[in-house]
């Protein structure tokens, strides 16, 4: 707060207060304090010496009332007030300015308090909301984590199942291949035996090896002709079964692959089968054929349709 009383002003104000009516020293102090809303509270140590000094100068006088001094302005005091009228007006202005100061202070004080309260409560509310949100987020995160774990384990299980299925398929394929190899070896032995017994010319009439129908015919014929040895007949049956199993395997592989048979699958398959047939022809049966191999699937169909036509017999391979 700005100094309420500049030099000499308090003295003037004291005179003014006593000019209104005679007052106790204590009353003067209280009036001053009230005047400034408690902002300016002169101590008795300030006021009494000043009153005493005014009395010395003859501007005030005092009476004893119930043991207390009651100060009263003198004519000299009034004269002083009158002579300093301008200053007194100025003082009044300053005093009202001081009251405005008080008003401003009150307002700023209240606004500061209110603002800090609002901030505090807003912060507290936000913290409370934040705590709730944290808990919620945590729960949500946990659920998400669980879902992720479940998904992953499910995926792992699926992968494992797929792996197992693949392994089983591969194993089956290996077994089939092995069986086929065995059968081929067997057939090779059979052929060798046949060539040893019947001579190569007989096999020469079998130029078109790919035509299974002939094989069937031959098998029937072979029975009539009294193919030597039950063993050879069993080999023949094995061979027939092998070929049939191959078709079955081929079909099941196509189904198991799970992919829809596209048109691009057939040419690839045809090439592989043709190559395989060529290889079988050359490596197993030692037949050299220049023209491309016939299509095995169609041959198989032919064979199937031809089979009923084959002459029945006990030794007919099934």
């Amino acid at each position: 707060m700005t100094p309420v009383f500049r030099h000499g002003r308090l003295r003037l104000y004291l005179l003014r207060l006593l000019d209104e009516e005679p007052r106790h020293g204590y009353e003067v102090i209280r009036l001053l304090r009230d005047r400034f809303m408690g902002v300016y509270a002169p101590s008795p140590g300030t006021i009494y010496p000043r009153l005493a000094r005014l009395e010395e100068e003859g501007l005030v006088t005092h009476d004893e009332e119930n043991g207390r001094k009651v100060y009263r302005i003198t004519e000299a005091g009034r004269e002083e007030l009158r002579s300093r009228g301008d200053e007194l007006d100025e003082l009044e202005e300053e005093l009202s300015a001081s009251v405005s100061d008080i008003v401003r202070e009150v307002r700023e004080d209240v606004r500061d308090t209110v603002r800090s309260l609002r901030e505090e409560l807003t912060r507290a509310a936000r913290e409370m909301r934040g705590a709730e949100r944290d808990a919620r987020d945590q729960a949500r995160e946990q659920a998400r984590e669980q879902a992720r774990t479940a998904r992953e384990s499910a995926r792992e299980a699926a992968d494992a199942a797929r792996d197992r299925a693949r392994q089983a398929r591969e194993q089956a394929r290996d077994q089939a291949r092995q069986a086929r190899d065995e059968a081929f070896t067997h057939a090779h032995r059979l052929r060798e035996e046949a060539s040893r017994l019947g001579g190569r010319e007989q096999w020469g009439t079998w130029g078109n090896w790919g035509e299974w129908s002939r094989w069937s015919e031959w098998a029937g014929r072979s029975g009539r002709q009294g193919w030597p040895g039950q063993h050879d007949l069993g080999a023949l049956r094995d061979f027939e079964r092998l070929a049939r199993d191959f078709v079955t395997d081929l079909r099941s592989v196509a189904w198991d692959s799970g992919t829809i048979l596209g048109t691009d699958v057939i040419p690839t398959l045809r090439d592989i089968l043709a190559d395989t047939l060529d290889r079988i022809r050359e490596e197993v049966f030692d037949i050299h054929h220049d023209s491309p191999a016939a299509e095995e699937p169609s041959s198989a169909e032919e064979r199937a349709s031809a089979e009923p036509a084959a002459p029945p017999g006990d030794d007919k391979p099934e």
Binding site: V99, V103, V106, R107, V110, R118, T122, A124, A125, M128
Partner: protein
Amino acid sequence: MTHWTVDAPTTLHFDDVTELNVRLIAGTVAVLASDDRSSLTVGELSGRPLQVSHADGILTVSYEALSWEGLLGLLKPRKDKAVVTITVPADCPIQLGVISASAVVTGLHAGAAVKGMSGDITLDGVTGDVVAETMSGEVAACDLDGEIHFKSMSGGLTLAGGSVGSLAVNTLSGQVTADVSLGEGGNVHVNTMSGEVTLRLPADSDARVHMHSTSGPVRTEFETLRTVKAPASHTVSGNVGAGTGHVSVTTMSGAVTLLRRAPVGMESKTQ
């Protein structure tokens, strides 16, 4: 009856003021309690002169043809501006009506009614029946004690400290913030449309609580209260302490938060 027409800054003194009525348009009106003689100081003045009258202890400060009832109907912008500071005895009831002027009231013990349009209202240490009504002005109050009525359109209310016998708040979009303690059997009733409500009561308060928001969230730090969430209805209710007092908050879309003030000495903040 004494009458003054004030057209320049001045100070007037009055004996025996038992009631105060002030109607201002723009500027500031401040009313302070004082044991000294009542006084009126006009600091700044522009526009029409102020009419001051003192009759039967009733001090009235106004403009010509500006009655208390018609005050809030005056939507026409005026240029009449005055900065007025008034001191009255603390036990003097007052009525202030302002348009855009801001009002400051401090230290009065016989209540105060302040109605404003856009001016801010500041109340400090006022006890008794306190009525504050405003359109868009903010009301800031410290250490009120007694029956408090507050009404606003968009103006917010902040109550810092003090003890309320009853606090009634009605606002459309004003934000309501109050940190008070409930008097014995005290009531708090807050109604808002969209205004956010944040209350803080002492931990050892004693009240039946019902807080409801149609679409806003309702939260509390008091653990004895029950939260019921339903579509288009968030409610927190129950008893705090014995439940002799009453706290009721109703809002359409505002958020409601009831905070708990830690008992003295248990505050987390240490000086």
